[in-house]
Amino acid sequence: MDGIHDLGGRQGFGKVRHSPTAEAFHEDWEKRVNALYSLAVRLGIFNMDEYRHAIERMEPRHYLSASYYERSLTSLATLCVEKGIVPREELEARAGGLFPLALPSAPGRTNSAQRERFAAGDRVRVTTDHVPGHVRMPAYIRGKTGVVVSESPAYPFPDAHAHGVEAADEPTYDVRFSTSELWPNAADAAFVHVGVFQSYLQRLA
């Protein structure tokens, strides 16, 4: 989905609020959320793609205003409700107030029928697919051209794995893009390497 989470290349943001001694956690509840979602994954209540997608499905104003761990919490609660582990009413009764959840999911999809094996040096184009469900193709590479650097081991296909759709595992390709291809005349000179699933790639003649 072309969601608000897909931030790469968006303009208008200010300086990174960096400190060399930055912490991973600021509050005790953040550590508990991090553990609880991990426990749910361990117990097989949901997988990492479902978890990521439930964050992406948060109402955009909620997504942008929530901290990282509030997004984790919202995904965890949404999936526990959707999977029938805990009714929302029980969560709200226990919390003593409203418990905002992510919005419903749209359908997923299986692997592309035209998957190809690529080798280092192959020139590829990213497909121009627009899908309503989970996808791990950042919008800034859609339709763009790059060069294959290497192949990864096969992973579950996220577009299917986040939606309970049957699919084969497939490799990702480390594809190197130039920022002048991604944002012509509007980016710092650099290369951007993206792990692109095989189903998102086409060979360039």
Partner: protein, 198 residues
């Protein structure tokens, strides 16, 4: 006594919401408290940059290990007792040189090799870094205190799949002859993300 219907019109605090999930898990016999204790210990003792620093120091002093690390990161860090979650099937180690600088990010969420380089710092997960570093890498690095010479090539690695990355920093010339422990002591999480050079 207030109307119980009214109490439900405001959003519960995040702490109350976490308590609610934990209590719901507990009521179902999922034993969240023990798992939380264990995860907190892991976060403090295991998922820390000192692990990755040890990997870097060994790569700087042991050329055969460096070769194995660059060829197959996951297997090489396992030699030092560092495990990665099952779904992190691949660790790619990115070697900086005087003329090449690598930096990692995750524009879609905030994925990291947290069992190797430590849990991601707050700014790594924030909107600014995720939005800007792929497009304005040189500017963002300069703002963060790393002003790279114009002839240094920048490569930004966006963690869009479950392959994980870590930067192998360039060894500072003044450290010739140092022990592995002394070398490890100067390696920071920022350097393994690639927003600092040593």
């Amino acid at each position: 006594m207030s109307d119980p219907g009214l109490a439900f019109r405001s959003t519960a605090s995040v702490e109350q919401r976490v308590d609610a999930i934990e209590a719901a898990f507990d009521a179902r016999g999922l034993e969240p408290a023990a798992f939380i204790d264990q995860a907190m210990r892991m976060a403090e003792e295991e998922w820390v940059p000192q692990r990755g620093a040890q990997v870097v120091a060994k790569a700087w002093t042991d050329p055969a290990f460096r070769q194995r690390l660059l060829a197959s990161g996951r297997d090489a860090v396992a030699e030092l007792g560092i495990t990665m979650p099952r779904h992190h099937r691949h660790l790619v180690v990115l070697e900086n040189t005087p003329t090449l600088h690598n930096v990692i990010c995750c524009t879609l969420c905030s994925c990291t090799a947290f069992t190797v380089i430590g849990l991601p710092p707050d700014w790594y997960k924030d909107l600014e870094y995720r939005a800007r570093v792929v497009r304005e890498s040189r500017t963002v690095l300069r703002e963060m205190g790393l002003d790279l010479p114009a002839d240094v090539e920048i490569r930004v690695w966006d963690t869009t799949a479950d392959t994980r990355y870590m930067v192998l920093p360039h060894r500072p010339p003044h450290t010739a002859g140092w022990s592995e422990d002394a070398l490890a002591s100067i390696v920071t999480k920022d350097a393994m993300i690639g927003v600092a050079r040593l």
